[in-house]
């Protein structure tokens, strides 16, 4: 008898099962043109059920499949963030779906499969499942990036993302293999026990494995120097897809980082604080400096998303220095949630501005928008303020928490560089606002019609950043107690 029957507890993966069933049903319904119009409603019903199931599982701390899958509050919180991102993206996708009406089923199910991959990554305790979740996520995104396959830039985005992604997946898998080789387990808690136990010397291969895992996820979360793919992929993909991947993939990668750092690697994580600090400085600075010279708003937001990965990395560095600090972890989660709202919101305005045949993507095209389309312009202004970190938006509170967590861990230099970067960033975010309100319109905005669903998505995002910006305390209290 060299095996044991596992405990099968399906309620642990309840939200995942709901999303899987939804994805599969829209995939099948998409095959029948007569029923295709129901698919979007099915997706929303599925997401609502998933939210309800998360509400039901909250605080129950269920464990299933012999500790391989967890439904602790940490995992559920990230599930909520992913589902918010998915919901906001889908509300913005109306135009895109109409354009590719035959691919409705594929588009919706791929978005849901990607969400499912993220949820698996956040709610597991095993490196193998993390890897499989990442593969589900990545493969869906490669396909989504190349979805507009009659366009060369979209194909280039898909191919580039796929080649570099496959390359770094190799790094990640090799890192997992090295960790398995040196600890004999892929379970994160068993790795923790191995490190605490200390009876076996921790070899250099374990460290190499750890670095390779950081490289693998660093690629997905767009850390410098693994960021080369970001601008081209973000520019070439359809804008709803860009919005989805900019928020979701980052959130999923940081969920894995948090899980690994706080449990698995916690005894030795302080040894790589230096590496993380260098990565953080590079990521922030390169992202912000290159963003200044961009004229295309999608590329500008791409570099800005690199810079934001850098800010979150500052808090991660602080966490690695002082692993007990619940505040650092809370500031990361807070920032990821806020980032989901403000970044998808900003891309939402970009989607609103796009024409179906020719795209309106230059920052100078936004000139005069403030007088012609006040609602879109106000939303964009708030998102830019939030991304730049200007009060009273949530972006300000997020940056405040992140830099104070760096100060709390006595990383003063890093905090100062972070603040300097935030100041640089104000320039290129405010430029958009200046164009909208202080320049004469060059475009005739008559092609823009009212789009209630899109407005709903933008309103949710605006509501999110304003509410979280003015009343952050209750959420922060919740987040500090989550671990």
């Amino acid at each position: 008898m060299d095996y044991s029957i596992p405990t099968i507890n399906l309620s642990v993966i309840g939200p995942e099962i709901i999303i899987l069933l939804t994805a599969v049903s829209v995939l099948i319904i998409g095959l029948f043109p007569n029923y295709r119009r129901w698919s979007i409603s099915i997706v929303f019903i599925g997401i609502i059920f998933a939210f309800y199931d998360i509400y039901y599982l909250w605080n129950l701390n269920q464990v299933g499949f012999d500790g391989m899958v967890l439904a602790d509050n940490f995992a559920l919180l990230f599930d909520i963030i992913f589902l918010i991102g998915t919901l906001l993206t889908l509300l913005l996708s109306g135009n895109f779906i109409n354009q590719y009406i035959r691919g409705t089923g594929e588009y919706l199910s791929l978005i849901l499969f990607a969400t499912l991959g993220m949820m698996l990554m956040a709610s597991t305790n095993d490196l193998i499942v993390i890897f499989l979740g990442l593969e589900t996520l990545s493969i869906s995104l490669y396909i989504l990036a190349a979805f507009r396959r009659s366009r060369e830039d979209s194909l280039e985005a898909g191919l580039k993302y796929f080649l570099l992604g496959a390359f770094t997946t190799g790094f990640l898998l090799y890192g997992i293999a090295l960790i398995y080789g040196s600890t004999g387990t892929t379970n994160i808690y068993s790795i923790l026990n191995f490190l605490k136990d200390g009876s076996v010397e921790i070899g250099i291969l374990f460290y190499i494995g750890m670095i390779l895992i950081i490289v693998g996820f660093g690629f997905k979360a767009a850390f410098v120097p693994f960021h080369m793919w970001v601008p081209d992929v973000y520019e070439g993909s359809a804008t709803p897809v860009t919005a989805f991947m900019s928020a979701g993939v980052k959130a999923a990668s940081f969920a894995v980082f948090l899980r690994l750092f706080i449990t698995g690697f916690s005894p030795i994580i302080s040894q790589i604080t230096g590496i993380l600090a260098v990565l953080a400085i590079l990521t922030m600075t390169v992202g912000n400096v290159i963003a200044i010279v961009q004229t295309n708003i999608k590329r500008m937001l791409a570099y800005s998303s690199i810079a934001h990965a850098g800010y979150i990395l500052v808090a991660l560095t602080a966490l690695s220095r002082n692993i007990e600090s619940e505040f650092s972890a809370a500031s990361i989660m807070y920032y990821i949630l806020v980032y989901t709202f403000m970044n998808i919101g900003a891309f939402g305005v970009v989607i609103y501005m796009e024409k179906s045949e020719e795209e309106v993507l230059k920052i100078s095209d936004y000139a005069g928008l403030g007088f012609k389309k006040p609602f879109a312009a106000i939303c964009m202004t708030l998102f830019m303020f939030s991304l730049a970190g200007i009060p009273p938006t949530a972006g300000f509170m997020g940056k405040l928490y992140i830099f104070s967590s760096a100060v709390e861990s006595e990383l003063y230099g890093l905090a100062v560089i972070g603040v300097l970067n935030a100041v640089i960033a104000v320039y290129y975010y405010l430029r958009v606002v200046i164009f909208m309100y202080m320049k004469e319109a060059v475009l005739d905005f008559s092609y823009l019609s009212a789009r209630p669903v899109m407005a709903l998505s933008l309103s949710i995002s605006v509501g999110g950043i304003i509410y979280l910006g003015i009343f952050p305390q209750s959420l922060i209290n919740l987040l500090t107690n989550i671990l």
Partner: protein, 169 residues
């Protein structure tokens, strides 16, 4: 006997791997890749890893090489050759990665350091029970959940084939 076989097939694997990258014609490279995969499969067999050996032949030397050959046929080789020769820094990256891996393997093999901890299933046990059976027992009990997730990855791949390559979808 095992040693002799190890050296023979190890030698074949290394030589054919070198020939893969030294060939001008990509079809020849693909054929040598099949040879490499085959000899590595035999090395797996010598390590009592029959399942991995069988998968290596079935999936890699069989299915994936078919895909490789089709992919080569799909390309406009003359154009690609020109484009590829521009990627000189790829060579540098390749040499660097190879060098790092070489150092690492030498470190492990000759210094016998960083080998990690031994597993709880010895090679003798594997030889006795059979590799496929051991894999089955652990895959369908302890790793049941990842096994199911694997089917998801395959499902996503199917959707991808249609979205990317079907004439009208």
């Amino acid at each position: 006997m095992e040693f002799i076989l190890f050296y023979i097939f190890g030698f074949i694997a290394v030589v054919s791997a070198l020939l893969i990258i030294l060939q001008k014609n990509p079809i020849y490279s693909a054929v040598f890749l099949i040879l490499t995969l085959f000899s590595v499969a035999i090395l797996f067999l010598l390590l009592n890893a029959q399942f991995v050996a069988a998968v290596q032949v079935l999936v890699y030397a069989g299915a994936i090489m078919t895909l490789f050959l089709f992919a080569i046929m799909l390309l406009n080789i003359k154009y690609e050759e020109k484009a590829f020769s521009k990627l000189a820094n790829l060579k540098i990256t390749g040499i660097f990665v190879t060098f790092v891996l070489f150092i690492e393997f030498m470190y492990m093999i000759f210094l016998r350091k960083g080998l990690g901890i031994a597993g709880n299933i010895s090679p003798e046990k594997v030889a006795e029970v059979g590799n496929v059976e051991l894999i089955g027992k652990i895959l369908f009990t302890k790793y049941l959940f990842p096994f199911e997730v694997a089917s998801l990855v395959l499902l996503v791949a199917m959707v991808g084939v249609i979205v990317l390559a079907k004439k009208k979808f």
